[in-house]
């Protein structure tokens, strides 16, 4: 019976990793579709919305099932706790991807203002954080999530610089307000995704060591 539990938990971990990959893909491709004004790619992201929600529900239900059937202890319990929180954060990341894809479609008809360098750069940092934390979850190697606080600070700084930059464009020409407001929102989404990656890192740290830490 206990063996069955451990097999089930292993399978669940694998699915969380798949879900994580999907969330990251959604975010990454959304920003790509924005940058390249590729509406097809944006549609791909939008088409994944249901899938990630379904994964969230499915993993949650199976996790709760394991909890009630086996009442796990120690690291098993911490893994379950980590998974339950993680899937919420991953769903949020995926949904920000969806939000960005919607904007990408809306902004696809006219050229971008300036070169839009900082947004893909932010997305790159966030996606690398998500990759690292998923790998840490898989391998339990906590060195992978070291330096998350600095990476997150970097994201905050980038968001602020995008904000300032957009303000300037808007003041120069009020016609740019809609577009720039979208850029600012996207920068904000990406910053939030970085926060979610940090929250996942906290949960992974708890899963591995049993110790609660704050990464910010």
């Amino acid at each position: 019976m206990v063996e069955k539990f451990h097999e089930e938990l292993k399978a669940l971990k694998k699915e969380v990793l798949e879900m994580g990959d999907l969330a990251k893909d959604m975010l990454q491709k959304a920003v790509e579709s924005l940058k390249n004004q590729d509406t097809e790619l944006a549609d791909w992201v939008l088409s994944k919305k249901r899938e990630i929600m379904k994964m969230d529900d499915d993993i949650e239900q199976r996790t709760l099932m394991l909890l009630t059937l086996y009442q796990p202890m120690a690291k098993d319990m911490r893994t379950i706790a980590c998974i339950l929180k993680m899937i919420t954060y991953l769903t949020r990341i995926g949904r920000y991807g969806k939000d960005i894809a919607n904007v990408a479609k809306e902004l696809s008809t006219e050229p971008h203002i300036a070169k839009l360098v900082s947004i893909p750069y932010m997305a790159d940092i966030v996606c690398k954080m998500i990759e690292s934390v998923l790998k840490a979850f898989k391998t339990e190697d906590l060195s992978l999530i070291q330096g998350f606080a600095e990476r997150d600070d970097n994201l905050d700084a980038l968001r602020y610089s995008i904000f300032r930059e957009c303000l300037t464009y808007m003041m120069e020409d009020p016609k740019r307000i809609t577009r720039c407001a979208h850029y600012m929102m996207i920068a904000r989404y990406l910053e939030r995704c970085g926060d979610h990656a940090c929250k996942i890192a906290e949960k992974v740290h708890y899963m591995v060591t049993g110790e609660r830490v704050e990464i910010k």
Partner: protein, 254 residues
């Protein structure tokens, strides 16, 4: 007065049944008015250990004990200890309910009687108080003269707890008190344990880890006669420090 918080203190306790070294260098402290749980696989020495706390092992032939067990600072294995007083102060409840083949009333009154109380009015009071404390009074108050054997398993076990409480112990040792009971009776005993710790100190041996996690404040894990880990229950079940404990409680054993 930190020392006073510990009602039982075990120092380097070793025990042999003949050649068989059953308990090895056990050191632990039982906090007053708390529930302490002992868990571990079958044959690890849990029951033997709690039976040392009121010298129940004395009656086993070939049993040898070395080390010290202090009850309120006094070594219970010292030659001038009165074993009867110890067993009155440290009561015990066993795995299988073992009521005496007498009425419900007599089961509870038996202890106080042999300790010299014969006044019927006084006995009535003790019986009611003990049955109330064991959460059984309302179920049996109208049939105190019925045979105890007619009660259900869960009621019998609560009767045994009432019987232990009747002699006003300070510590109650419970050796798997719920293992022969159904979930509802188990839940009642667990609620009872929670109530009891206001007045008593409880040490419970259990195979059921979830039960240990639910009812106890402190938990000890025994394996092959050694106390592998002892600490706050929350810590033992959330972040055990020892690899063996971790493996045992997550079922990765053997």
């Amino acid at each position: 007065m930190a020392k006073n918080n510990y009602i039982i203190e075990v120092e380097d306790l070793n025990l042999w049944y003949g050649e068989n070294h059953v308990l090895k260098d056990i050191c632990m402290k039982v906090m007053r008015n708390k529930v302490t749980a002992l868990m571990g696989p079958s044959g690890c020495g849990k029951s033997t250990l709690i039976r040392c706390f009121n010298r129940m092992n004395d009656i086993i032939v070939n049993c040898r004990v070395r080390g010290k067990v202090f009850f309120k600072g006094k070594d219970i294995y010292s030659p001038n200890t009165n074993v009867f007083v110890i067993r009155k102060k440290i009561g015990m409840v066993f795995q299988k309910p073992n009521p005496l083949p007498k009425s419900i009333y007599e089961n509870v009154a038996y202890g106080p009687r042999i300790h010299g109380i014969n006044d019927n009015e006084k006995l009535d009071k003790i019986v009611e108080k003990s049955l109330r404390a064991a959460a059984l009074w309302d179920e049996v108050k109208d049939r105190l003269e019925d045979p105890a054997m007619a009660l259900s398993g869960g009621q019998q076990q609560r009767l045994c707890i009432a019987r232990a409480l009747a002699v006003e112990p300070e510590v109650i040792l419970m050796d798997e008190p719920c293992s022969s009971l159904d979930p509802i009776a188990t839940a009642k005993i667990e609620d009872l344990i929670n109530d009891l710790k206001n007045k008593y100190t409880v040490v419970i041996v259990t195979h059921n880890m979830q039960q240990a996690a639910r009812v106890s404040d402190y938990t000890g894990f025994l394996y092959l006669g050694q106390l592998i880990e002892f600490g706050h229950t929350k810590q033992i079940f959330e972040t055990p420090q020892e690899e063996l404990t971790e493996r045992y409680i997550t079922g990765r054993f053997g």
